[in-house]
């Protein structure tokens, strides 16, 4: 059993989820003005997953993320101000404006990078986990991947490798029902992604990804098992993205009212707030105060990003190699 969440934990969980939501909602608004360059894939709706998982991790644990990576970054401790600048293509960004939305990484907090290649992270976390095992640390590695990536060979290879080597890896499938525009029902051959765990000799579980507490507990158990040498697990989190595959996607492949219905009835922040205020663990005023602080943080990050300098020609050829 994982340890009980303290009041501070609950405040952290709410702040993290709210920060992700505010970050993504703001990007959605600003993208529509045409000012934000490139491809942006938003995580809004899925906040309970990144938050519930990463609250079980330390900065010495590693995660690999996806093209929909902003939430994982924030939950793992990457600075949202630097992230915003990165997404705006500024020199002050987390990656000096050279990576953008799909490649935000910060190895100093164990964030191995968002990844533009679907399924690219599976093999990488086997490596960070192998290093932890060889060095005898108790660190774990988590590979976040989507239902689309669940069909990639890299994920199968990584699950087999992690099992064969008994590595401390958690394969964290975020099943939001759509691989780009193609539905899970069409493209995944088994009933649940968790069903695939047995083929690789590891435990698999499916949890409600709108419920922070369910994710936190299920991921916590898998992470604890991995820390104690019990090997890899597959945790499938069923959730929904509120926005399209990328910004600009009108989502006409979804049922009329599908997203609104989920927002109204299942939203992770809504459920969390109701539960912690009903139980008396947190007061609504505390949550409101966090909302205001987070809004100020994100507003400030946008103001800063807009006025920060872009990289210059002098930056074009730096950072290709350590030495060449």
């Amino acid at each position: 059993m994982t340890k009980k969440l303290t009041r501070d934990d609950l405040l952290t969980a709410y702040r993290t989820m709210r920060t992700i939501r505010e970050f993504e909602e703001r990007l959605h608004t600003d993208f529509a003005t045409g000012e934000i360059p490139g491809f942006v894939h938003l995580y809004a709706g899925e906040e309970a997953s990144a938050t519930g998982v990463c609250m079980n991790l330390t900065k010495d644990d590693h995660i690999a993320s996806t093209h929909r990576g902003h939430g994982h970054c924030i939950a793992k401790g990457v600075d949202p101000v630097g992230m915003m600048a990165e997404i705006w293509g500024r020199k002050t960004g987390t990656c000096k404006g050279k990576g953008g939305s799909m490649h935000i990484a910060d190895l100093s907090v164990g964030m191995l990078g968002a990844n533009g290649i679907v399924g690219g992270g599976g093999p990488l976390v086997c490596g960070t986990a192998l290093a932890a095992k060889l060095r005898g640390t108790r660190n774990v590695s988590v590979c976040f991947f989507g239902d689309g990536a669940s069909n990639q060979g890299t994920i199968f290879e990584a699950m087999n490798l992690a099992s064969v080597w008994n590595l401390p890896v958690i394969f964290l499938a975020e099943n939001n029902g759509y691989a780009e525009a193609t539905s899970y029902n069409y493209s995944v051959a088994c009933d649940t992604i968790a069903d695939r765990a047995s083929a690789f000799g590891m435990p698999g579980i499916t949890v409600d990804g709108f419920d922070f507490f369910a994710v936190h507990e299920a991921a916590g158990e898998a992470i604890e098992r991995a820390r104690n040498g019990g090997g890899p697990s597959l945790v499938e989190v069923k959730l929904s993205r509120y926005y399209g595959h990328f910004e600009g996607d009108q989502q006409t492949y979804r049922a009329p009212g599908e997203v609104q219905n989920i927002r109204d009835t299942k939203d992770c922040l809504l459920q969390f707030s109701r539960r912690v205020t009903a139980s008396g663990e947190l007061a609504q005023a505390e949550l409101d105060a966090i909302d205001a602080e987070v809004k100020a943080l994100i507003d400030g990050s946008v103001v800063k990003a807009k006025s920060d300098p872009k990289p210059t020609e002098a930056d074009l050829l730096t950072d290709v190699y350590v030495s060449y």
């Binding site: 590693h62 690999a64 960004g93 987390t94 990656c95 000096k96 404006g97 050279k98 990576g99 490649h103 990484a105 910060d106 190895l107 100093s108 191995l112 990078g113 990844n115 533009g116 290649i117 690219g120 599976g122 093999p123 990488l124 976390v125 086997c126 490596g127 960070t128 986990a129 192998l130 290093a131 060889l134 590695s141 060979g153 890299t154 290879e157 990584a158 087999n160 490798l161 064969v164 080597w165 730096t318 950072d319 290709v320 190699y321 350590v322 030495s323 060449y324």
Partner: protein, 336 residues
Amino acid sequence: MARKITYQQAINEALDQEMSRDQNVIVMGEDVAGGSGAPGEQDAWGGVLGVTRGLYAKHPGRVIDTPISESGYVGAAIGAACCGMRPVAELMFVDFLGVCFDQIFNQAAKFRYMFGGKAETPVVIRAMYGAGFRAAAQHSQCLYNIFTHIPGLKVVVPSNPYDAKGLLIQSIRDNDPVIFLEHKALYTMEGEVPEELYTVPFGEAAVVREGHDVTIVAFGRMVQKAQEAAADLQKQGIHCEIIDPRTTSPLDTDTILESVEKTGRLVVVDESHPRCSMASDVAGLVAEQAFDSLKAPIRQVTGFHSPVPFSDALEELYIPSAAKIVSAVKSVKEYK
């Protein structure tokens, strides 16, 4: 102290000595021990051609057999390198690049740039390359040109035992991803190799023969072929200068250009297919930057724009021969 050992032994020795020096160095790949989990010897093979033989017993737990999952274990080597290990992953045949290239060119090669200079990925990927073993189209390619095309990778093609040891030690100590390519036909080549640890720097070509008539730039095994040709041409009064770049990325362009400025004539010898090759790359470099020095058209001696054939009758035609190099050198020497 130097003594004669083979190219294969030089590689084994470099791995062994670096593993002893640095606990972060690990070796992983298909059958690099060869026997893991089997009822007999746990290190029956030491690599499919025995290059890593003996390392398993000397370095317990750090010579790791992998499933046949190239994306999986090459990616794992890259991930381990991101947190300070120095893995040497063996891809066995470079032709297997096709089943793991994403991890190499989209992940390892780009981390440092995409992450704004905040990542180091000191991974080495070793692989065998080259034709001559009747191994046919999927076990005989060169492909160093494909890696060379990708910014972020370093690419090493040693042509002799001394360079193989020194360049492999440099590869392991280097903080960027390195592709280290070993020509199968060179494994039995003998040469003087110091017992102690030493490095051969990247991006420094070797002038393996000096001459004033024609510059021959040759890669990997083709250095041997060029030497055969040059010995023959010497008898005919033609003095060749042979340059072995040793690494295709970085490429020592200065040494190539200086030589062509001296000789005025260039033949490039590259075992790979001719299109978008190292041969065309060097020819383009010289045409652009040493045009005024040229006394004759540049000639390229390469394989063909075909898969590597199986039958010995065809494969011998495919591989650039000393005779073809002789002919190319004569044609540029006699050009009016």
